[in-house]
C-alpha cells in the first residue's frame, strides 16, 4: 500500500503543484492518476520514488516513510516506466533490461538471464535482445521499457504516460498485454495518464486530479462514471460516460430471444450448416439476393457495451449472440435492449438512494 499523507509540493517560485493530497493506493492493484495537464500527476508520482521531495506531508510505502531509506536503494525496488520508454541508446535491449539487476549486484550472466526471461514475458522475441533501441519501433521500445522496470521484480511500479507515445492500435495492444501481465504479477502500480478512457480501462482505482494539484475524486472507474463527485469530474469523464459505464456489466444479464423472433422485425437470420451466422435477409434489409453481414456477434462474456454497440450498428437493429462453438444461440432486439437499459438505470438509481 502506498499512502499519501497530506502531501504538499510547492516548487520554488511557483504555486502549489500538489495541494494537501491524501490517498491510499491499494497493494497489488493499478491506481491511475488522471487529470488535465499541469495538475500535479507526475509530481505526485515522482514523490513516491523520491525523485521529488514533498514540501510537507509524507509518502509511505507499506507504512514506511520513503525518506527513511537510502534513496538509490529505494528506487531500485521501484520499477519506473516513462513516456517514450527512455531506453539507453548505447545499450542493447537485453543490457537495458538488465540495468537494475546489475545495480542490485547480480553478476552479468544472472542479470542477462533475468533480462531475457522478462523480455519473453512482455512478448518480445529473443531476436530483439541484441538490437539497439534505435532499431525498434515505438511500441517495441515501450515494451522494453516495461520489461526494464520489471526485470528486478519490484513490488511497486510507477508508470508515467507509458502508452501515450504510440498510435491507437499499438496502444490498445500494449494496454491489453499490460493487463494480462498485471493479472499474473499483481504489482502495486501507480500509472499516470491524461486519457480518461485509459484510466477507466486500466485502473482498479482512479485518482482524478484537478488544477492546482488537488484530488477531485478517488474511486473505482464505475463510481467515477456513475457517481461523479462534482461537475468537474462529470465533465472530465466525458459526455458518453453513460455509454462507457455499460462496460461494467456483462452481456449475460440481457434478455435473449430465439433467433426466429427476428421475424417480428421483418428479418431472417441465415445460418451456415454449422449454425454460424451468414447474414440477414428479409424486408428489413430490403430483401437482397445474398445475406447482409451481421457486422459482428457477442458471447455472454462480452460487455453490455458490446451488445449495445452491435444492436445499434446492426443492419436490422438486432445483436446476435453465439455460443463457444460460434453457433448462434440467441438474439437481442433493439427494443428489448432499450427496456433492459431502462430497468438497469432504475436499479442503479435505487442503489444510489439506498
Amino acid at each position: 500500500m502506498i499512502t499519501f499523507d497530506e502531501v504538499v509540493k510547492v516548487f520554488p517560485g511557483g504555486s502549489a503543484a500538489v495541494d494537501h493530497l491524501s490517498m491510499e493506493l491499494p497493494t497489488g492493484k493499478i491506481t491511475v492518476f488522471v487529470g488535465p495537464s499541469g495538475c500535479g500527476k507526475t509530481t505526485s508520482l515522482r514523490m513516491i520514488n523520491r525523485m521529488i521531495t514533498p514540501t510537507s506531508g509524507r509518502v509511505l510505502i507499506d507504512g514506511q516513510d520513503v525518506t527513511a531509506q537510502d534513496e538509490a536503494t529505494l528506487r531500485r525496488g521501484i520499477g519506473y516506466v516513462i513516456q517514450h520508454a527512455g531506453l539507453f541508446p548505447h545499450r542493447t535491449v537485453v543490457d537495458n533490461v538488465a540495468t537494475v539487476p546489475l545495480l542490485l549486484g547480480s553478476s552479468r550472466r544472472e542479470a542477462r538471464r533475468a533480462a531475457l526471461e522478462v523480455l519473453e514475458r512482455v512478448g518480445l522475441p529473443q531476436s530483439f535482445a541484441d538490437r539497439y533501441p534505435a532499431q525498434l519501433s515505438g511500441g517495441q521500445q515501450q515494451r522494453v521499457g516495461v520489461a526494464r522496470a520489471l526485470a528486478a521484480d519490484p513490488p511497486v511500479m510507477l508508470m508515467d504516460e507509458p502508452f501515450s507515445a504510440v498510435d491507437p492500435v499499438v496502444r490498445e495492444s500494449l494496454q491489453r498485454e499490460f493487463l494480462r501481465l498485471q493479472a499474473e504479477l499483481g504489482k502495486t502500480i501507480a500509472l499516470v495518464t491524461h486519457d480518461i478512457d485509459e484510466a477507466i480501462k486500466l485502473g482498479d482505482v482512479v485518482a482524478v486530479f484537478r488544477e492546482g494539484g488537488r484530488l477531485a475524486q478517488f474511486g473505482t472507474p464505475r463510481e467515477l462514471l456513475e457517481r461523479p463527485a462534482d461537475a468537474f469530474v462529470g465533465e472530465f469523464v466525458g459526455r458518453d460516460r453513460g455509454f462507457r459505464s455499460l462496460s461494467f456489466d456483462t452481456a449475460d444479464s440481457v434478455p435473449v430471444r430465439p433467433p426466429g423472433d427476428a421475424a417480428e422485425d421483418g428479418a431472417e437470420l441465415v445460418l451456415d450448416p454449422a449454425g454460424r451466422p451468414l447474414g440477414w435477409l428479409g424486408p428489413a434489409v430490403g430483401s437482397p439476393a445474398t445475406p447482409v453481414p451481421t457486422g459482428g456477434t457477442f458471447s455472454s462474456t462480452d460487455t453490455l457495451r458490446a451488445v449495445t454497440d452491435l444492436a445499434i450498428s446492426s443492419p436490422v437493429g438486432i445483436a446476435v449472440r453465439v455460443g463457444p462453438d460460434g453457433a448462434v444461440d440467441g438474439i437481442v432486439r433493439h427494443h428489448d435492449l432499450v427496456d433492459h437499459l431502462a430497468s438497469r438505470r432504475g436499479r442503479s438509481g435505487a442503489e444510489r438512494t439506498a
Binding site: 515522482r46 520514488n49 525523485m51 538509490a72 536503494t73 529505494l74 528506487r75 531500485r76 519506473y80 516513462i82 517514450h84 527512455g86 539507453f88 541508446p89 548505447h90 545499450r91 540495468t99 537494475v100 545495480l103 542490485l104 539497439y132 533501441p133 534505435a134 532499431q135 526494464r148
Partner: protein, 216 residues
Amino acid sequence: MIDYLQRNQELVLEALGEHVVLALLPVLIGIVVSLPLGYLGVRFPRLYQPMVNVCGILYSIPSLALFVILPVVIGTKVLSPVNIVVALSIYTVALLARTVADGLRSVDRTLTDAATAMGYRRIRRLFGVELPLALPVVLAGLRVATVSNISLVSVGALIGVGGLGALFTRGFQLFYAEPIIVGVLLSVLLAGIADLLIVLVQRALTPWARLSAGRV
C-alpha cells in the same frame, strides 16, 4: 627521395618516433586532465562559462610564443622536449575540457533522470550512462586535438626540439629539399593514420551512435 630514406633510415625513424611521443603524450595527459575538469563544468554550472573562457584564451596563444615562454614560466631548459609536451597538453586540455563538458551537457536529461530513478548513484551514472552517451562528442574533439598536436610538434623544430620538424630545419640548413619533403609527408601521413585510428575506435565503442543518427 627513396634514396634519401634508405640512407637516413635511422635518423628518420627516430624523428618519427619522437614526433609520435611528443604529439600523443599530451593527448593522454589532456584526456586525464579534461575529464574531471569537464565534469566539474557540468556538475557546477556556474563554473562552465569561466571554464569555456579560460580554455578559449589558452587555445588562442600562438604555439611558438608558448614554446618560448614556457621555459621561463616553469623553469625548464629552452631546448627541453618537456616544453613541447606541456604546451601541447595545455592546448589539448583547452580543447577537450570544453568538449567533455559539452558532450556531457548534450546527454538527454530524460535519460539521466531515468537512470537516477532506476537507482543509479551519481558516479556510477557518470561512467555508466553519461560518459558513454557523451563519447561521440568527446571523440570528435579528440580527433581535432590529436591531428592538431601532430602538426604543432613540427613547430617545435623551430626552437630546436626534435620530431619530424627537425627534418625541415635540417633541409633548410643544408639547402636540401628531400628531408623537408619526407618530413612533411610523414607528418601528414601520421596525422591521417591517427585520425583513422580514432575513427575506428569510435566505431567500435559507439556502434549505436550511427543507428541513432536521424532517429530520436
